[in-house]
């Protein structure tokens, strides 16, 4: 990142292919500013999850480059530093909640970052309060509802105080009430957010800007209300204009 430049994520000519498969996406160029909320929408197999995994340093990038929070995920040193700056919430919360109780699980990330116990406890309590998880400290994950699991997974990432939050299909498996609550929480988060998914209504309500990913390329990039209102753009890809924009 250059001094004075508020770009927090920069993709240049990014191409990614799984082994022995055609590229998932090719020559992606994208910039995301600090504090921005970006929706990534597209049909199944468009590469939304793959893109988030590349940004989180999970998948190795061989062609093109990524600069995220001033770090380059292709270098081992920077990749090790990524979790302190980039948090990712996966599609299925059960894959992300690994400890036997809610509080212990939320503390998992901050403890891995080497924070002192007192600071970890404060961060855990603060994030539990923000996400309405008070009183669930000692609750085992298998006794949580879908919405509580999703909030626990989100809390586990927010407790690490990352600069950038990557959310993959955040409304998956949620009932309408839990989905609505999640949207409220997402809107209260001040960090830079990238939200990938099929839930266009959620993207509409949480992101100012949206990119449409399809056939391995960015087909459109602009204000969410304009992209998601464009039926001629969405319908050939099997997507529908959200109800409130019709």
């Amino acid at each position: 990142m250059n001094a004075g430049d508020d770009t927090l994520i920069r993709l240049c000519d990014l191409t990614f292919a799984y082994r022995n498969n055609p590229p998932v996406f090719e020559h992606l160029n994208l910039e995301v500013a600090a504090g921005e909320s970006l929706g990534i929408v597209g049909p199944n197999g468009a590469g939304k999850t793959t893109l988030l995994l590349c940004l989180a340093g999970v998948l190795p990038v061989r062609k093109g480059c990524i600069q995220i929070a001033g770090l380059d995920p292709s270098t081992p040193t920077d990749r090790r530093r990524l979790p302190a700056h980039v948090g990712i919430v996966f599609q299925n919360s059960d894959d992300q909640i690994i400890h036997g109780t809610v509080a212990e699980d939320i503390a998992f990330g901050p403890l891995n970052l080497g924070w002192p116990d007192g600071k970890v406890r404060e961060a855990v309590q603060e994030v539990m309060r923000r996400l309405g998880l008070q009183g669930l400290d000692d609750r085992p994950p298998h006794q949580l509802s879908g919405g509580e699991k999703r909030r626990t997974a989100l809390a586990g990432v927010l407790a690490m105080q990352p600069d950038i939050l990557l959310l993959d299909e955040p409304s998956m498996f949620l009932d309408p009430k839990a989905r609505r609550e999640l949207m409220q929480h997402l809107n209260q988060i001040g960090q830079t957010k990238l939200i990938a998914g099929h839930d266009l209504d959620l993207v509409l309500q949480t992101c100012q800007r949206t990119v449409l990913l399809a056939s391995g390329r960015i087909q459109a990039d602009g204000p969410t209300s304009e992209i998601l209102a464009n039926a001629r753009l969405l319908e050939p890809l099997g997507l529908e204009v959200p109800y409130r924009l019709r």
Binding site: G57, P83, G100, T101, G109, N112, P140, H142
Partner: protein, 239 residues
């Protein structure tokens, strides 16, 4: 979903306040002592002593009895052997086996009921157990519920699609498919969990929020627990 591994609702007692490190040490030594007891008298004394400790630990008995069902099923053949041997007036080995198993079950139930799992893993780590084993234990405890839930969903799906318990050949074949699918899903899940852990900064160290402080009462309980056991086994072997 309630399972045998679920934490038991437990009332505060000296057992719940006992430092888990001292508790693990005391229970492990006591279990070893019980394994070495070879007379009916010492085993009966251990059973009586532990019953008193259990009574003082204010457990929720309904939950304890529910979990005892599995244990009783396991013991049934040995109880039958005990009855047969007592009628025949032969060796008392099955009786001692049953008694020893009951005492060990009581010890395990007491430990599980009065210690949070996060405290157990942290205590094991501070007692020097290899990190790999602690992670394995923690992961098993967390994900056994998910795998069991998936298994239950598969079973339900089979039943609603007409699989009947009487169709033995089909049932065994279908269950083997389900088992294979569960193993594959567990393997896929393991990959995803590992990725999620790395994304949260995991590099192999085991850390939890649990904090322990040894008080004088912890040490006293330890020596009481172990001392009585050592005394019993000493008397036992001197006879």
């Amino acid at each position: 979903m309630a399972m045998i591994l679920d934490a038991l609702p437990v009332n505060p007692s000296y057992m719940t306040r006992w430092d888990p490190r001292w508790k693990i040490a005391a229970f492990s030594i006591t279990a070893a002592i019980v394994a070495f007891c070879h007379s009916d008298v010492s085993l009966l004394s251990a059973w009586l002593g532990l019953s008193l400790v259990l009574a003082a630990s204010r457990l929720d008995w309904v939950f304890v009895f529910r979990r005892s069902v599995y244990f009783v099923a396991y013991l049934t053949p040995f109880v039958a052997l005990t009855l047969i041997s007592s009628f025949a007036g032969t060796e008392k080995l099955p009786f001692r086996f049953v008694l020893r198993a009951i005492v060990l079950f009581m010890l395990a139930a007491l430990f599980v009921a009065t210690t949070r799992f996060a405290d157990v893993t942290k205590a094991l780590a501070s007692l020097g157990l290899p990190r790999f084993l602690i992670h394995l234990l923690a992961m098993c405890h967390r994900f056994i519920y998910l795998i069991a839930e998936e298994g239950q969903r598969c079973e339900l799906a089979m039943r609603v699609r007409g699989l009947r318990a009487t169709q033995w050949h089909r049932v065994s074949k279908t269950y083997s498919y389900v088992l294979a699918a569960l193993i594959l899903r567990a393997e896929e899940r393991a990959e995803r969990v590992a990725t999620a852990m790395q994304c949260r900064g995991f590099h192999g160290a085991y850390r939890t929020l649990a904090q322990f402080h040894t008080r004088s009462s912890d040490v006293v309980y330890f020596f009481l627990f172990v001392g009585v056991g050592v005394l019993a086994v000493a008397v036992d072997w001197s006879r």
